[in-house]
């Protein structure tokens, strides 16, 4: 190992865990004015502050829900367990849901809030894609509908949520008093409105019933319209199932979720 490689390895080890810094301190010029320990401490603190700030940007409502102290403690333990391998700090928060499930199991709303906000951030700069419209679909002959398969927008994320994280997020976003934590078992869709449909390019979300959630999961997995109808027949007549499936597809088109067939 070259001298430079040793310095960098030891410096990084110190930043990740300062208890390993005692030996490295001897590589830094000491002085009466500031001192080597304080000089290294600037880097040690900056490493954490910078990433905590990046995590707070991705998880603004989780920050509110946890409060400053618990968010800070959570972020620090997260950083310790998840050293960044990313070129941009924006990607660092991807394991937060799992981290919160481990560190705050008694507070499951936190992990779900993290999952929701991570979904919003992924939708924000996911790949662009043009949107299919009802007019496009009207050109498809009725007899071929059973074989129709749908390609969904790259920004679409499905979240099987158990708690009312979305309602709490919404209230906090509108600066209203959030509802009490409650179990709702309402799954959620997150996606970005495409440029072709509106000019907004903002992330959107909506809660949906379990039946629609199963249907869209099935459609995303590549199932045809005919298979969707068959699955819905578990609870509906054949005619009702076809009408329901058509309504779902119409809703997905209006939401700007389908990019092509």
């Amino acid at each position: 190992m070259s001298n430079l490689e040793q310095i960098q390895t030891d410096f990084q080890a110190f930043l990740i865990d300062e208890t390993k810094g005692a030996a490295f301190k001897s590589r830094i010029i000491d002085d009466a004015k500031v001192g080597a320990a304080k000089r290294l401490g600037i880097y040690y603190d900056a490493y954490r502050f910078r990433i905590i700030e990046a995590l707070a940007t991705v998880y603004p409502k989780l920050h509110v829900v946890l409060g400053n102290d618990l968010f800070d403690k959570t972020a620090r333990s997260y950083i310790d367990q998840n050293p960044s391998t990313y070129r941009n700090m924006r990607w660092m928060g991807g394991n937060m849901q799992a981290h919160l499930q481990q560190t705050l199991p008694q507070y499951p709303i936190a992990a779900e809030m993290a999952a929701f906000e991570w979904g919003l951030s992924l939708a924000f700069d996911a790949e662009d894609a043009s949107i299919l419209t009802l007019t496009d679909l009207a050109e498809v002959p009725l007899e071929t509908w059973a074989d129709l398969k749908f390609v969904f927008h790259p920004s679409l994320h499905l979240l099987p949520l158990q708690w009312n994280a979305v309602q709490i997020w919404n209230a906090l976003d509108k600066e209203e008093t959030p509802p009490a934590i409650a179990k709702t078992n309402e799954p959620c869709l997150i996606w970005r409105i495409g440029i072709d449909l509106h000019s907004g390019l903002n992330s959107h979300f909506r809660s949906l019933e379990a039946a629609e959630f199963s249907a869209i999961q099935l459609a995303i997995s590549g199932a045809s319209f005919g298979v969707l109808c068959e699955q819905l027949q578990d609870n509906l007549s054949e005619e009702q199932a076809t009408i329901q499936a058509a309504q779902y597809v119409s809703t997905w088109l209006n939401d700007g979720l389908i990019t092509r067939i």
């Binding site: 070259s2 001298n3 430079l4 490689e5 310095i7 960098q8 390895t9 410096f11 990084q12 930043l15 990740i16 001897s26 590589r27 830094i28 010029i29 004015k33 500031v34 080597a36 304080k38 000089r39 290294l40 600037i42 880097y43 900056a46 490493y47 910078r50 990433i51 990046a54 050293p83 960044s84 391998t85 990313y86 070129r87 941009n88 700090m89 924006r90 939708a123 924000f124 700069d125 996911a126 790949e127 662009d128 894609a129 790259p154 920004s155 970005r192 440029i195 390019l201 903002n202």
Partner: protein, 299 residues
């Protein structure tokens, strides 16, 4: 992947066009820049923020590039690292350059991590001949890959290595000579480091290869008494403006911009702050006309 159209020969004259007075592009200002077309000569974008698949960042960037010359400024090249150069990063950097056609591409003279990890900080290098050689070789690889000279920026630092055998400006000069690269001189960083390490900031400016300085950064910082932390969240202070005046009286007029990364004010405030740089340049031109070349737009 195709080469960029505006890549210049690596053996051409050191300096590129002078773009005038610019600002760092920040998301808070996208809409105002597009709606009002403020009097900014050029914009510097943070490369990593646009290495994404789609959505708002690239949508706005494309529109802004139609109206303003841009340069690319990165933070994760890690040119001084002893780990292997991240080829995926270089590929994405070149891909972004193909898209925005920047006047130039810059990053920092530092390292950001080893062993596949990123500390997301501009960590200092020991100023030795071994390090200079190592960095210069890597700059060569990057410049060959990108098909253009890159600019490297002096960073603010808070610690010095006992291993260092030369000054920072001697180190920079050695690298420039060996790598034939350009410099992004951050005047605020010179001020911060000179305060933290007790050296003469003017000696730094006098010591770097002046014909390679392509761009100047200006920014604010926080003074903690014994040391200064570079924060980019406040206006440029007077001593840094004085140092800027000294720099351009020595270097001639260089593309200059203000970097604000936090506590982002309304765009008008930054445009007004940029006028201070313009006035200083006019003042220097008045007393030392030979030092100043008038800006010319490349678009």
């Amino acid at each position: 992947m195709t080469q960029t159209n505006n890549s210049q020969s690596l053996t051409s004259q050191p300096k590129l066009a002078n773009l005038g007075f610019g600002l760092g592009l920040r998301t808070e200002h996208y809409q105002e820049i597009l709606n009002n077309k403020p009097a900014i000569d050029w914009l510097e974008l943070l490369s990593e923020n646009y290495m994404v698949a789609g959505g708002k960042p690239l949508h706005f960037l494309d529109k802004i590039c139609e109206n303003y010359p841009v340069v690319m400024h990165g933070v994760s090249l890690s040119i001084g690292s002893t780990s292997t150069i991240d080829k995926d990063y270089l590929r994405d950097l070149r891909h972004l350059a193909d898209r925005v056609q920047p006047a130039w591409i810059s990053d920092h003279l530092c390292w950001t991590g080893v062993h596949g990890q990123n500390m997301h900080d501009l960590l200092p290098l020991p100023y030795t001949e071994e390090t200079a050689k190592h960095v210069a070789e890597r700059i060569g690889i990057v410049q060959d890959y990108l098909g253009r000279k890159i600019l490297l920026e002096n960073v603010s630092s808070y610690a010095s290595y006992v291993d260092s055998t030369m000054t920072e400006w001697e180190f920079i000069s050695l690298i420039c000579e060996q790598a034939d690269c350009l410099l992004l001189l951050d005047v605020n960083n010179i001020y911060v480091s000179s305060y933290n390490h007790q050296f003469d900031a003017k000696a730094f400016i006098d010591g770097v290869p002046q014909n390679r300085v392509q761009q100047i950064h200006l920014a604010g910082h926080h003074n903690h008494g014994d040391y200064i932390i570079d924060t980019h969240d406040t206006p440029v202070i007077d001593p840094v403006w004085d140092l800027y005046e000294y720099a351009i009286s020595r270097l001639g007029q260089v593309s200059t911009m203000i970097e604000r990364d936090a506590n982002i004010p309304p765009l008008a405030e930054l445009v007004q702050e940029l006028d201070i740089a313009r006035k200083i340049a006019e003042k220097v031109q008045a007393y030392n006309p030979s030092a100043v070349r008038l800006p010319r737009h490349i678009k």
